[in-house]
């Protein structure tokens, strides 16, 4: 496979994945761009791996977890706060707001936990593959997910 074929086939999916990770289209673009530049520069090494797509997803996820630790976290928090004080006139709308709050709560999770949730509930990957992407044990993935879900549930309780 050439880099061009890979980009044709997978760039869109990677951008969507990055949006779920970062919660922001601009950051998603930065993240994908930074990763794909490295992919293209080192394409021979990427293509040599048995599953280039998984290799690249792993690069991107690591980049997200490790890259610019400080400033990234601050930016996510700044953008992540929900717009409070918006009235919810009807039950129907209230449930929509609730569901959207899940999205904003996500931004408060540690990035590694958020990545496991995205891989699990957006990409629908099995735990073993998530563990491989994050470079950790399967047990760690499970505990990571359950801790993240517990945090989100606690938020639910607070709101209700």
């Amino acid at each position: 496979m050439t880099y061009e074929e890979f980009a044709d086939a997978r760039l869109g999916a990677l951008l969507r994945y990055a949006v779920m990770l970062t919660g922001d289209p601009h950051q998603a673009q930065d993240l994908v761009q930074e990763t794909m530049v490295r992919v293209q520069l080192n394409w021979r090494r990427v293509a040599r791996s048995d599953a280039p797509e998984r290799y690249v997803r792993r690069m991107l996820t690591n980049q997200f977890v490790d890259w610019r630790r400080g400033s990234w976290a601050r930016r996510v928090l700044l953008r992540g706060e929900p717009d409070e004080g918006v009235p919810a006139p009807a039950d129907h709308a209230q449930s929509a707001v609730d569901r959207d709050q899940v999205w904003s709560w996500l931004s408060r999770l540690p990035r590694r936990q958020r990545a496991t949730l995205v891989l699990r509930y957006y990409e629908d990957l099995p735990d073993a593959e998530i563990a491989e992407i994050l470079g950790c044990a399967v047990g760690t993935v499970r505990s990571c997910i359950s801790r993240a879900l517990a945090t989100l549930r606690a938020e639910y309780v607070e709101v209700c």
Binding site: M36, V37, V102
Partner: protein, 349 residues
């Protein structure tokens, strides 16, 4: 259930994903930029290797930058045998039209027996035939073409024609590259025969040996006014600088220590153009011969005042000494020639 809410939230955000086309274009642009940067660093490294090779008396030359992914890890090639000639050109500051001329031109000759290095100064005011342009001064050949690379090629051709030897490798050093190279090795010691007053910075450098940092070394290398022999004295200083740099590199063990070498390579930025040889850096390092440990011998190409009608202030080859000297250079017999003509040898220490 929270899991379902998560799935729904993710699904709703899919439309946030940026369009693929612009991102792809941005990636390609960034890749081009980064490749260029890599190449620049590599070129600088190659130049340094050539300089190192030239000065340390290595038996080979630098690698081709475009084909070696990693300067240090490049595949080894066997060291060439026989005499080698390398060209070092010190470029001056860019003129108002952006073109540069050469301040100093050194031909570094490494004899086949690898006994020592010969630094042959070629006067920049030497009148030479120029390709398609009649005659001109040797230093003007660096201004040929659009950039330093073209200028180097023209200079190289002129020198090859003048001396009749093959140029195996070479490098152009700008002021900046010289400054960075000097600072990277922690300063270079130069032994001046007489005090120098800088025409450019008003600094004075006393007679005798002194350690110069990057900007001081460049300052000294630029001076030709207020000196008895003008540009010829400057050429002698260039040879003294080269000898001092070689001494310093040897002293620090840079050439036998890959870590130090690669640090030096990355420190010296762009502003250098190199001619590439056919061997890799490891071969070059492995081939460090006895020449590196001996003091080099510096000699000026024998010239006399008097150019052509259009260039009355230039130099031409000394008809009494030059033929014998060039024969010795081509025949790899500089040791005999310099022994027979001690007056032509520049004192370095």
């Amino acid at each position: 259930m929270i899991e379902d809410d998560l799935r729904a939230a993710f699904a709703r955000r899919e439309e946030l994903a940026p369009a693929v086309g612009p991102v792809r274009a941005a990636i390609d642009r960034a890749v081009v930029r980064r490749r260029r940067r890599r190449l620049r660093v590599r070129l600088a490294g190659t130049a340094l290797a050539v300089v190192a090779a030239a000065l340390a008396g290595f038996t080979v030359i630098a690698p081709r930058p475009a084909e070696t992914p990693n300067l240090i890890a490049a595949p080894a090639t066997p060291p060439p045998s026989g005499a080698l000639n390398m060209l070092l050109v010190g470029a001056d500051a860019a003129g108002t039209d952006g073109s540069r001329r050469a301040d100093s031109i050194l031909l570094v000759h490494l004899p086949a027996d690898r006994s020592r290095l010969y630094l042959v100064a070629l006067p920049r005011d030497l009148v030479v035939p120029m390709t398609g342009r009649g005659t001109g001064k040797l230093n003007a050949s660096l201004a040929a073409g659009t950039d330093l690379t073209a200028g180097y090629q023209a200079t190289r051709q002129a020198v090859a024609q003048l001396t009749g030897v093959r140029i195996d490798a070479g490098a152009v050093l700008t002021y900046r590259a010289t400054r960075e190279l000097t600072d990277a090795v922690g300063g270079v010691s130069m032994c001046l025969p007489a005090e120098i007053r800088s025409h450019h910075t008003r600094r004075t450098y006393p007679a005798g040996c002194q350690r110069l940092d990057g900007s001081a070394a460049v300052d000294v290398l630029r001076q030709r006014y207020n000196m008895p022999d003008g540009a010829l004295d400057r050429d002698r200083n260039a040879a003294r600088y080269a000898a001092g740099l070689l001494h310093r590199i040897r002293e620090q063990g840079v050439l036998t220590n890959p870590v130090l070498l690669s640090r030096l390579i990355t420190k010296v930025g762009s502003g250098v153009v190199t001619d590439t040889g056919e061997s890799s850096l490891p071969a070059l390092l492995a081939a460090a011969g006895t020449a590196a440990t001996a003091e080099p011998v510096a000699v000026g190409l024998p010239v006399r005042h008097g150019g052509t009608k259009e260039l009355p202030y230039g130099f031409r080859l000394d008809s009494a000494l030059a033929p014998g000297f060039l024969d010795a250079l081509r025949g790899d017999r500089l040791a005999e020639w310099t022994a027979a003509h001690p007056k032509q040898v520049t004192t370095l220490r």
